[in-house]
């Protein structure tokens, strides 16, 4: 079937003219898109098998072939590697000629398939669309020339972080880039809570811990943390949802809080926390010292998933990339690198901590107690995400009073005596304040006496008058009823970074003023259900905190999206983008 290329002059045809002619008479050439790329769909047990018969001289682009579920969520399409079309003038693309066979996993509802191709040396077709599968078998749909403009909400076309890196320098750059992002993230509040955990692990062990042992322990912690991130990516790819939201459910929080209570009790010497004897004896042979590398790993995984649930730009980017492309390998690798990067400074804490600290002695007993208290604090902090604020306040009160009493009544002779007692008194006072707060119904540990201050401090919330929604239809309804530009703020009850944003930039009078020009909508995804997932998909967001700035036409202002922690300046810039 070797046919010569079409003579170019001949392609330079055509058509015209009177009303009926153009519509009734197909142009002799180029072929109509549905003839140039004839699609047949076969539904078998293992999914949908798609075959395109591609006319001679025509080709399809691999990277313009995609599928979406009924809710607009991307559906992975398995495609074979294409032919590399490497034209020095036009860059490298992957294309298919003659025939393309692809597969889609079994889908619950109809899948909207989009593809795009060209006739060599002549013409490129607009994207072709067809709804396939389930109820909609072979329902033809008119080619969607500009699908982006049909939707209610138009997201900005900023390419994902991972997409961009991958396009520029391949997998190597992605991994190196994410390692770097991780390193940067290590100095944010997301990772700070992990420092005392590692320090506690290394120094609070009772016996002297060498640098090597410290490195091994913190290494196990960091590797487990990185693996947990990678696992997060894999699960996100498989289930199409963000595992983190699930991990913020009350049972998961409860388990993690209990883990920290156990750790604390172990620090207080109530029992030694050890891995099962069989495992620990094997480990001890290798390590020459009894310890719990396994415990460190467990802590690492827990920390990544539950202690530091920050959706940061790189994490969101990697999760979305995996969900959209189904490229689990690269996505998981990127997340692993991210976790590793976050952990590098922790390795330093693990390795140098023991060297910096004085040799083992009586202070060790004190250190263990301090870390025991810190771990109890973690338990309360975690539990606070699911417990009523008043209960949390009461727990803080108990912890602070307990710690204060311990310090204030400490042995008089010890060197730390006087400052220790002073600190104890301060803690007692703080504990009393928390207790008083709990008693009068306060619910914010940082402002326990807020109820006494009246409603003055709550004014910021009211001024910006966020409308709260929990589902995609509700969000669309609110946006439809608003002619102003809009700020869509994705938050959740368990999102600690969100609280920081609400106390910080969102409470800033300058930001409040600027926000007056926008319709502020809060999307609450505390409940990790289908409704939350749908609204996150609609916004193209991985999770809270994410701020999407829509202009009056409901198009996202390019470059305005804020993912993760932010400050007033960034918010003002984004608001300006949306309102210009």
């Amino acid at each position: 079937m070797t046919m010569p290329r079409f003579p170019r002059a001949a392609l330079a045809a055509l058509l015209m003219l009177s009303a009926g002619a153009a519509a009734a008479q197909p142009a002799p050439d180029p072929l109509p898109a549905e003839k140039a790329f004839a699609l047949t769909v076969r539904d078998d047990a293992s999914g949908l098998s798609l075959t395109w018969e591609i006319a001679e001289g025509y080709y399809l682009y691999r990277d313009h072939l995609r599928a979406e579920g009924p809710d607009g969520a991307p559906v992975a399409v398995e495609t074979p590697p294409g032919t590399r079309k490497d034209d020095p003038t036009f860059g490298e693309t992957e294309i298919y000629r003659d025939r393309l066979q692809a597969r889609i996993a079994p889908a619950a509802g109809p899948v909207t398939l989009t593809w795009q191709g060209c006739l060599e040396d002549s013409i490129c077709y607009p994207p072709q669309t067809r709804v396939i599968g389930a109820a909609a078998e072979d329902t033809g749909r008119a080619p969607d020339v500009a699908p982006a403009r049909d939707r209610d909400i138009v997201l900005a076309a900023d390419p994902g972080l991972l997409d961009g890196l991958s396009a520029r320098g391949g997998a190597g750059l992605v991994v190196a880039g994410f390692l770097g992002f991780g390193l940067l993230l290590a100095f944010t509040p997301c990772v700070f809570p992990m420092v005392p955990i590692v320090a506690g692990m290394v120094t609070g062990r009772g016996a002297e811990v060498g640098a090597r042992r410290g490195l091994a322990l913190s290494g196990a912690y960091v590797i487990a943390m990185a693996s947990a991130f990678a696992l997060l990516g894999v699960v996100a790819a498989w289930s199409g949802r963000n595992l983190q939201a699930v991990l913020q459910s009350p049972p998961a929080i409860g388990v993690a809080a209990a883990l920290f209570v156990l750790l604390a009790l172990s620090m207080f010497g109530l029992f030694e926390l050890q891995v099962p004897r069989a495992l620990s004896s094997r480990l001890s042979r290798v390590q020459g010292r009894q310890g719990s590398l396994g415990g460190a790993a467990l802590l690492g995984a827990t920390s990544a998933l539950i202690v530091g649930p920050c959706v940061t730009a790189p994490l969101a980017g990697a999760l979305l990339y995996i969900a959209q492309t189904g490229d689990v390998m690269l996505g998981a690798l990127a997340l692993f690198a991210l976790g590793l990067g976050q952990g590098l400074p922790l390795l330093a804490v693990g390795a140098f901590g023991p060297r910096i600290l004085p040799r083992s002695g009586p202070w060790m007993e004190g250190a263990r107690r301090v870390f025991g208290m810190v771990f109890l604090g973690f338990a309360i902090w975690l539990a606070g995400r699911v417990l009523p604020g008043t209960v949390t306040l009461a727990l803080w009160s108990a912890l602070l009073i307990g710690a204060g009493a311990l310090l204030a009544t400490g042995p008089r002779g010890s060197r730390a005596g006087r400052p220790g007692r002073a600190l104890g008194a301060i803690l007692l006072l703080a504990g009393a304040l928390q207790g008083a707060g709990a008693a009068v119904g306060g619910d914010d540990p940082l402002r326990p006496l807020a109820p006494f201050a009246g409603d003055a401090r709550r004014a910021p919330d009211e001024a910006s008058a966020f409308t709260t929604v929990r589902s995609a239809p509700a969000l669309e309804a609110v946006l439809a009823g608003e002619s102003r530009p809009a700020l869509v703020y994705v938050t959740a009850g368990w999102c600690t970074t969100c609280r920081a944003i609400e106390r910080g930039p969102l409470a800033d009078p300058a930001v409040q003023d600027a926000l007056g020009r926008l319709a502020p909508v809060k999307v609450d995804v505390t409940e990790a259900g289908a409704a939350s997932r749908e609204v996150l998909d609609l916004l193209g967001a991985a999770g809270p905190p994410t701020m999407v700035f829509l202009d009056a036409d409901r198009a996202e202002a390019p470059g305005s999206r804020i993912v993760g922690d932010t400050d007033s300046a960034a918010m003002l810039a984004s608001i300006a983008e949306a309102t210009r």
């Binding site: 046919m3 010569p4 079409f6 003579p7 170019r8 002059a9 001949a10 392609l11 330079a12 045809a13 055509l14 058509l15 015209m16 003219l17 009177s18 009303a19 153009a22 519509a23 142009a27 002799p28 050439d29 180029p30 072929l31 109509p32 898109a33 990277d63 313009h64 034209d87 003038t89 036009f90 860059g91 693309t93 795009q116 060209c118 006739l119 040396d121 002549s122 013409i123 490129c124 077709y125 607009p126 994207p127 020339v145 500009a146 982006a148 076309a157 900023d158 390419p159 997409d163 961009g164 396009a167 036409d553 390019p558 210009r580």
Partner: protein
């Protein structure tokens, strides 16, 4: 078989050109608010004009900034337009290759107000075929700051979005299957053209006027 197909296509081409020579009063009407007329296609008041604005022949190209064939023939097209001296060149954005193409069109149209449209258009046409938003911005930035172009586009957003919608509606109504596609005078051409065909098409259009 080869011969048959070749001759068939040539015949079709001749037919198309021949048909174009006849005067055309009526173009397929659009369902939308704006009627599709020769004037609407050739003399859209908002579409930027290059070449000789007072020229006797109007050459409209429906194109996309990521369409490889549009870009491959563009230097030749500019060359022919310059050499002829009597061609009004109207490049109509028909962004079919997704968000980067749309962004490129928005920035180029924004550059009209900055007096930089021809340079931005040329810079974008000289890029590699596949673009992401960053590459689009880099190409634009070689002429004007992206920020200013985007601000200018936004300032006249109503006009430009309406123009893009009109371009899309016209291309679809004219039965164009993709980019590039041309209206040269009142004759339509689908697909990339070579130099000889382009020159002949301009002569044909000139003969009609």
């Amino acid at each position: 078989m080869t011969l048959n197909r070749r001759s068939l296509l040539s015949a079709a081409g001749a037919l198309g050109l021949g048909a174009g020579a006849g005067a055309v009063a009526l173009w397929p009407a659009l369902g939308g608010a704006q009627p599709l007329t020769v004037d609407a296609v050739l003399n859209d008041p908002d579409a930027p004009v290059q070449g000789n604005p007072g020229g006797d022949v109007t050459l409209v190209e429906f194109f996309d900034y990521q369409c490889p064939f549009c870009k491959r023939m563009h230097p030749m097209l500019e060359d022919v337009v310059t050499e002829d001296g009597g061609v009004r060149l109207v490049m109509k954005d028909w962004p079919i290759f997704g968000p980067p193409s749309l962004r490129a069109s928005q920035l180029a149209l924004g550059a009209v107000a900055l007096g930089a449209y021809p340079d931005v258009n040329r810079a974008l046409m000289a890029t590699e075929a596949r673009l992401d938003a960053g590459q689009v911005d880099a190409a634009v930035a070689s002429v004007v700051p992206v920020r200013r172009a985007m601000d200018a586009y936004r300032a006249a957003r109503g006009t430009w979005d309406a123009l893009l919608d009109r371009n899309d509606a016209q291309a679809t109504a004219l039965g164009f299957r993709g980019t590039p596609a041309f209206a040269i005078g009142t004759t339509l051409y689908a697909g990339a053209l070579d130099r000889a065909t382009l020159r002949a098409a301009i002569s044909t259009a000139r003969a009609e006027t």
